[in-house]
Symmetry: D3
Subunit: 132 residues, 6 copies
């Protein structure tokens, strides 16, 4: 199995509902350093998993919809806690939509899996992994 990973980041504000979150129930924020990993069992004719330039652009586009925002005000997350885990799934699912729409090129149709990891600090991170 082959994989390629690209890294970018976003900077958001949010708050959480639920006693389990303690002081994180207050409005606060996070930088998420985001790693998007694309997987496939074989390489394409160019010897790559995916066009890394396009992968980088599409990850930037997905994060561009979230960064520099207060996620508490985003309709897409109404009624949801925007935990690191939930945001990892959101970024992964939106990348999959773009792959399926052809935004990563025809070669990206050979992808079989994706993992998105969000680093919220130097001591904590979360991942979401799914098939395509």
């Amino acid at each position: 199995m082959f994989s390629v990973t690209v890294r970018d980041h976003m900077m958001i504000a949010h708050s959480f509902q639920g006693e389990v979150f303690g002081p994180a129930q207050r409005l606060h924020g996070a930088t998420f350093v985001v790693d998007a990993t694309f997987r496939r069992p074989d390489l394409d004719d160019d010897g790559i998993v995916v066009d890394i330039g396009r992968a980088t652009e599409q990850l930037r586009a997905v994060l561009g919809e979230l960064t520099y925002r207060n996620l508490d005000d985003e309709p897409a997350f109404a009624g949801l806690n925007t935990t690191t885990e939930v945001l990892a799934r959101t970024v992964a699912d939106r990348l999959v939509q773009r792959i399926e729409a052809g935004d990563l090129g025809v070669g990206a149709r050979g992808l079989t899996g994706i993992t998105v990891t969000l680093h919220e600090s130097h001591i904590a991170w979360a991942s979401y992994d799914r098939a395509l």
Copy 2:
């Protein structure tokens, strides 16, 4: 599949038995930067894999039983080489005991796997991965 990882560290002395270890047969030591990864297929009602505060506390408690010690003197490791691999398994198994004892909360009962990685330097690390 979702995962959450928290990082902490411990600083121990030890020595190894066996020619394969070369100069590491002498009493020496290590800082282990420890990553504990908790996995489950779905999120709980709060949108999380595990209460990250409790996960951090329990990892600290497990490492607190090992850090600032000479592991050659610990009865738990009598007759064992406390290699990075063996210590990764020890930390993972002790975390599982705490999960099963309810120390990470009732939500942690949904966990299906755990991976513990010990970084012994900037150029070497070892992991142990198990199901729950």
Copy 3:
């Protein structure tokens, strides 16, 4: 010259005033990974720059006054942009107050300088350096 550095982090929300900030004028947030460096020309009788346990506690205390908050609502920053640079100075100045109050121990009176670095992402950070 000797120095010791300890690392911790904080997670805050804020917004900026001024066209130079572009989209960061919107309410957003950041994780700041914070490095506090303590300097002195000679070591004390124990062979240290500062009690690293106390340095860690005091850095945590200073960051505890800021983390999990919306800095736009904090009176201490009224009329100020809480840029990474400004926050680095704030953390440094508050650590100096604690050093002068004796919170880092009598040995800390030998300190001659401090540098605080705030990492706002994997590609940007800011520092403030001052004498004691």
Copy 4:
């Protein structure tokens, strides 16, 4: 499952064929920081996955065949794009040949899998994973 990873690096020149590569069609170069991960379900009698000293030596030997070279001139890669993905597979396959030749010791016969990750920058890396 247990794993051990060792890190080293190589510094090579190369160019790519194919419009997808854009400016990387020109002769350029890369530092690849290389992580080689060795896996097995159980530890050997010494409590290890593999002799980490030998693993380090063999990784260095494999990278020594590639580093400080222009890969466009290497017969082994004639007609191939030496992408990060292709080089990850090359390093992994060459390590497997050495394992099978006994270069990592008899204990290495218990290995069941290997993953090689090549970091081409702080924001991009690729992996190849295979069974033994």
Copy 5:
């Protein structure tokens, strides 16, 4: 003293003249992860050292003149070894030219120093530091 640092990278081919360089006399390459640090004693009216967006853009522009090239063919380096040290100075000097040309904005006129660090691997880097 305040500073702000931004990070980017370039990927180049080159070779060195001189026995001291050993195998690096052959055509090879490197990824340089580049940190550009801008310094000034006081903040501007916006509470910043420099417009970080412009600093990022200008660093990218400077690296864009070098990346994806064989530096042995660049007239700017004729007769020079493009060592990590020499390239750090080149990047710093070109950033200073852009600061003096106003490309980082009028606020950048308050800058008093710059440091450029090029990381050539996980175990080696070089810096050049100069006044403005």
Copy 6:
């Protein structure tokens, strides 16, 4: 001013005398990731600060005198706490002795300063800086 830094590591056991050290008064250990920085105002005729190959070898030699040992048993440290700060000075001073003995080559005579940083964990490190 130019500088070049090389990184290596050592793994030692030790204990400390003094109440300030708390649990670190017990025999324990550490991995120190060691960065040695060499400085000079101008480059030599090859365009370098120092022969990086020799610098790496000499750092390895200095660390080879310390690694895989219990520093409590080393005569060189009798009556001294081998704190991170003290060890940073020891490594720096031993590197300077080697520079003065010509072990880094005649070009190294142009060096004017050295800094040694020892990382004891992902959240703590110490440095010693001196002139030559």
